[in-house]
Symmetry: C2
Subunit: 187 residues, 2 copies
């Protein structure tokens, strides 16, 4: 890129200002997306963690009761969502810093690194959760696993609903990484 | 970064050559990692897709037989791994292009965009598969799902083993995205 440098120096001033404006726009969008992701993953974690259902009938020995931590995968789902929402909250100051200093480079690289790791964690939690939710709804005749949703109706609705916020978070991360990459390339 | 440009122009030539060398090194590492990822995900897909076990005993009506597509999640696992290994293969030419032209920018951005999407797809497939493999091994007493691995021993070993290549692919993607981001930032 060395050969281009004199050309860049000779650019009209308006072009440079416009470029900085685009980068500031990207940084503001980054901030808003992080807020959306924070709300989505936090509500997912809370929704899953507070789910429990006790059936109205019981035998002498057993009360039929379903809680999220009956299935270890859902515990992982809650942990992943809680960790990611905490990360979203912690990354907000760095995002504000990017809005204020649109030419910042290192802060963007740090964000890409952590965003990628968190994308992997959240996707893992969401899809493991989705696999078990699917099994709860449909069961599997070959493995002789029955669909527990036939008994635990409202429990199943809650756990299905809590997947939404989690996938919102995954989408947010993908868009965030693309935005950061394009902002880095625009320097 | 405009203010820095004259300083960059005044750099000794050796420094520029060294910088290009680092970028070429990153591009070569990128190529090797893609090969590793290709082998990992392809072997995962093949290993899972060719898994089946027929138990040596049977009743008049039923032969006990386990195949990967008895569980829809494993079908998704195979599809995700096959798609990602095809992507790895297709991205090799672009990776070679990056080795030859170390200052290329657009090709790196294209790779980051697709890498991120494929990371999400592969992580989803791997962790959904892992959730079901865990269930097959341990079962769940609360949901009354029995551990099928007590009967289908070699089937379970194969499906557990095929997770490895898949997670190798996930790790490769994370490193690839970090390498591309650092290469973009180095321009």
């Amino acid at each position: 890129m060395k050969a281009d440098a004199p050309v860049v120096l000779g650019e009209p001033k308006g072009y440079t200002a416009q470029k900085a404006g685009v980068k500031r726009g990207i940084a503001i969008l980054d901030f808003i997306l992080r807020l959306v992701g924070f709300i989505g993953t936090l509500s997912s974690a809370i929704m899953m963690a507070t789910t429990n259902e006790t059936l109205p009938f019981f035998t002498q020995f057993i009360r039929f009761r379903a809680e999220y931590n009956d299935l270890p995968t859902f515990t992982f789902f809650v942990v992943a969502n809680a960790a990611v929402s905490a990360y979203f909250l912690l990354s907000l100051p760095l995002s504000i810093f990017n809005i204020l200093r649109s030419s910042a480079k290192n802060s963007r690289i740090i964000l890409i690194i952590f965003d990628t790791g968190m994308l992997a964690l959240l996707t893992a939690g969401s899809s493991a959760g989705a696999a078990i939710v699917y099994l709860a709804h449909r069961g599997n005749t070959k493995a002789n696993w029955l669909a527990i949703c036939q008994q635990f109706n409202s429990f199943c609705e809650r756990i299905s609903g809590s997947l939404i916020g989690s996938y919102v978070g995954v989408t947010v991360f993908i868009v965030l990484i693309l935005l950061s990459a394009s902002a880095l390339a625009r320097r």
